[in-house]
Amino acid sequence: MTSNQFMFFLFAAIIVIFSILTVTNRRILRAATFLLFVLVSTAGLYFMLRFNFLAAIQLTLYAGGIVVLIIFSILLTSQIAEKLEQPHLMKKIFAAITAIIGGSLCIYTILLFDFKEKLMEAPNTNIETVGNALISTGKYGYALPFEVISILLLAAMIGSIIVAKKRKD
């Protein structure tokens, strides 16, 4: 086993174990912390695949932004010491059956398909390449989705301010 494979298995084990803990832990603040571990080891996978800029985005936006937002909302809406009530056993069993059947179907299909992998020197992913691609309108330019995503972010910002604002009534 090469060191790369070892690192992949380490990250995969962290991701799977802490994902399961995220959806089963009854203390909600701990579940949020486990979600943080999952997101950070996903950033590790991105670093392993040499997507350095993407891994930095993952760390700052996901781990730094969304998880902190979730933790703040947990602190605003529930008691820290409070334990969530255990879900109904039948509900658990049926959800697990759904997940296992869907997952095994997907994995079976993946294993059947023959992927034509090719190894070649990837284009460098430094900030300059990323920035030029984001504002170029030619082939392999992403100016349109970039503009759409900026309008979406503006709309989400205004919308969340309006929704969360205190009403005088």
Binding site: T22, L35, L54, A99, G159
Partner: protein, 105 residues
């Protein structure tokens, strides 16, 4: 193969993570934990995008850019969802999906 790691390993990892997220989405009752399961689902899709980009089409960076857009959409979605959750909490003082049924009748 990427230095000894075939593409299927990444895809299997992403599938397992996706369906753990689906399980949490079905089982949980608290709105914030449902949101966290949704983040798991989005994150697993990102792993797929990145692995496809690196191992099948390494000459361009399409998977990387779409992962960036997915992350931005996830951030927008989380902010709006948390605003709605806080508003619900302010009106009904709980965020349990089975008890938030005041608008139903």
């Amino acid at each position: 193969m990427f230095e000894g790691i075939p593409l299927t390993w990444f895809l299997i990892l992403a599938t397992v993570m996706f369906f753990i997220g689906i399980y949490g989405f079905l089982v949980r009752k608290n709105l914030i934990t449902i949101l966290m399961s949704l983040e798991l689902v989005l994150n697993s899709v990102n792993i797929n995008f990145v692995a496809f980009n690196k191992l099948l089409y390494p000459q361009h960076l399409e998977g990387m850019f779409f992962t960036m857009f997915v992350v931005a959409v996830a951030a927008a979605e989380a902010s709006v969802a948390i605003a709605i959750i806080i508003n619900i909490y302010r009106r009904l003082t709980n965020i349990d999906v089975e008890r938030v049924d005041e608008m139903k009748y």
